[in-house]
Symmetry: C2
Subunit: 325 residues, 2 copies
Amino acid sequence: MSKIVVDMMGGDLGPEAAKEGVRSFKTLHPETELILVGDPKALADMEGYHIVPSTSVVKMDAGALDALRDKSSSMSLAIKTVIDEKADAVVSCGSTGAFLTMASLKLKKIKGVLRPALITSFPTVIKGKSVTILDIGASTENSAEELAQFALMGSLYSEFVNGVHSPKVALLANGSEAGKGTEAGKAAYTLIKQDSKIDFVGNREARDVMSGDLDCVVSDGYSGNVLLKATEGTAKAMSFLMKKAFKKNILTMLGYLFAKGGIKEMAHTMDYKAVGGALLLGVNGAAIKAHGNCDGYAWKSALCVADKIAKAHLVEKIEKRITNE
Amino acid sequence: MSKIVVDMMGGDLGPEAAKEGVRSFKTLHPETELILVGDPKALADMEGYHIVPSTSVVKMDAGALDALRDKSSSMSLAIKTVIDEKADAVVSCGSTGAFLTMASLKLKKIKGVLRPALITSFPTVIKGKSVTILDIGASTENSAEELAQFALMGSLYSEFVNGVHSPKVALLANGSEAGKGTEAGKAAYTLIKQDSKIDFVGNREARDVMSGDLDCVVSDGYSGNVLLKATEGTAKAMSFLMKKAFKKNILTMLGYLFAKGGIKEMAHTMDYKAVGGALLLGVNGAAIKAHGNCDGYAWKSALCVADKIAKAHLVEKIEKRITNE
């Protein structure tokens, strides 16, 4: 049976959104054990759930050090509960820096893993198909060996969490030819190519990520972060311009009314809330960081990702693949 | 008087687009001397222009080495003409790799410049305002000193080519706080901060590039390339989805007809053809690489950028600033 710990207190929308997400998730997966960490008063209406009481909340802008000092916060207790209760995963939408640092330090790396990586899913132009990217920022610089392990972890994630048979894995580079990339990237290319269990398609440029041809893209943490945020920034800029375009005059406003159905479908394809945040892969127990402003729906998505990871025994699979080599 | 050499033969659309661009430019700037390099037959109708005859064309997919070997190509002769005729700039829309390698090798670096950088302009959400980014791929990895010189060159470019008084320069990083970034980036932060002639606003994330708050963003070549291509890929994906959204049914198609004016204005804001390609900064004579599929309008824009650089004496200004320090 899978067991998931939930930090109910972080995030901009507070425990109400978390509770809504937990209830929706539970309807879908009554078999999964959930442990809710939070202020007992705020969780008073969650009868029948296993509740671990906490007395404080890590602020959204808290630094990692401040957060580490406060042992009674819901975030700190949630991570501790993963260890105490041998849980499979922990979900929080509190401060990203605090949560990731805490999870990296306390959950310990899977045996054989050099560095944990932060992985997320991007939408693609193909409806319902996403592409996973790692590392998007757990590290800044990475060695070739670390990048090769990211390829392995990303491939397993795509296969067992996203359900892709023989996922196509690419290495992010400044050109699609072999021989492109940083020094570490070039050495990683050779290492990944040697791994017969990875369907490695070679180097790909950042412009190909959302094309729908790839299942997983491997990058060092710094460039992966640039990729993530450039995509976010461009999508934001284009949405802004699109809204402006529709507000130009009475005709364009009328146009919006007619086109609304299509536009909403497009917005849904690009919706990050449907893909469940980001998660730290490579530690004992997946640590899922849902978006800070996530609502009930986004909470449910994040819990579903945690559940898939748990049911797929992803941590064990990673350890087995890495130590066998 | 400014003098610009034009490689008329490269690009997907061939010399006809180049000729159209040259004629439009000449109407705007009759005072600028243009030297056109190309097949005399193809340029037979360009009476009154200074023509340097060439006998071959570098293929769009040519490698840098192949291109370097062919001394009679329009690209090779165009770069040679910059040196022979002491021209200010050269414009080509041929193979990017070939053109940049050739320009780097033959035009030589400006005195004091450690590494040339490839600079380009991105649109922002503010109509008519662009932001310049360098390096977007001349190098892969860069030292702190190189990054600091990019800040200086980018600031001068924004001021004298884009006409921005006291341009705001930011360093690309994986967080906006000081102390974020790669090791080289962190050291560059300190160096740039010490330069009182640069209005340095500190670290910025990739998501802030198109916000309209910045005039110039400095990055190592690898991450700058990721930024450029992630932006391009996202814009392409969203345009694709938008078109699909409008084609959904008869109502959405009707919506497009009404909203067309606004949508076209949005497309124009995002139009890379209006910003004039990319250029190699830091060599003696700016080398401007127009987009491979550029039409007459894009050619004209690229020639206007070349002309501004020439008239601003940008090369001299860079040398003066760098050697004075």
